[in-house]
């Protein structure tokens, strides 16, 4: 399925862009699966998404946990723990 992925803050700087469209393999259906899928892209990606760093996720602008299911057309965002206020 086709989804949009956004990156913010430290993660955006590491991957060096803020948004991309991805065509996911059929077996990538959760946030955990998407993180694993992205971590195969190389060292930078592995460092971010292999679970050693805390990376929060949102689907369609709602915070979700790693078990959340991704649907076709979703906007998925990855970012560090928030530090506003």
């Amino acid at each position: 399925m086709h989804i949009k992925v956004l990156y913010f803050a430290r993660i955006k700087e590491a991957v060096n862009y803020s948004t991309e469209d991805i065509q996911l393999p059929d077996d990538v259906q959760t946030i955990t699966a998407l993180k694993n899928y992205l971590s195969l892209r190389g060292d930078t990606w592995a460092d971010l998404f292999n679970g050693k760093q805390t990376v929060r996720a949102a689907i369609n602008h709602e915070l979700v946990d790693n078990l959340a299911i991704i649907h076709a057309g979703d906007e998925v965002a990855f970012f560090p723990p928030v530090t506003g206020g």
Partner: protein, 133 residues
């Protein structure tokens, strides 16, 4: 705040967050706030809605700045109006604790040692957890 003139308001509690000129031992010359615009609006509305469902409030208002700020600039304003002070104090503190842990803002500091992303604080997670008891 639409109903500031409303006669039932007995208590107004406000919180203003300011840029401090020192953080974690380094002097801070400026602070840049990044956010996730489409999510920010939804997150702040959700936090306000949750506060209104927990306490008897007349109105709430949240203003959060983004972009580059300097020492002593105001970052965030939370304003809560209620008939009685207990509700207003609790709701204002609740909103700040949730904002600190759930609203998609990220701070990058420019210090004498260069730029650095501000790390999330465990104490903010602890503060939020109080409200889940």
């Amino acid at each position: 705040m639409r109903s500031l003139g409303q006669g039932g308001i007995g208590a107004l509690v406000s919180f203003v967050g300011q840029v401090r000129d020192i953080n974690d031992g380094s002097s801070v010359s400026s602070l840049t706030l990044e956010h996730y615009p489409e999510m920010t609006k939804k997150a702040l509305e959700k936090i306000e809605g949750e506060a209104k469902s927990r306490w008897d409030l007349i109105d709430t208002c949240i203003i959060h700045r983004v972009g580059t700020l300097h020492a002593q600039d105001q970052i965030v304003l939370v304003l809560v109006a209620s008939a009685h002070r207990g509700d207003a104090f609790s709701a204002c503190e609740f909103i700040m604790d949730y904002l600190k842990t759930s609203a998609p803002f990220w701070k990058k500091e420019a210090t004498s040692q260069g730029e650095r992303w501000v790390e999330a604080k465990l104490s903010d997670d602890v503060a939020k957890e109080r409200w889940q008891k």
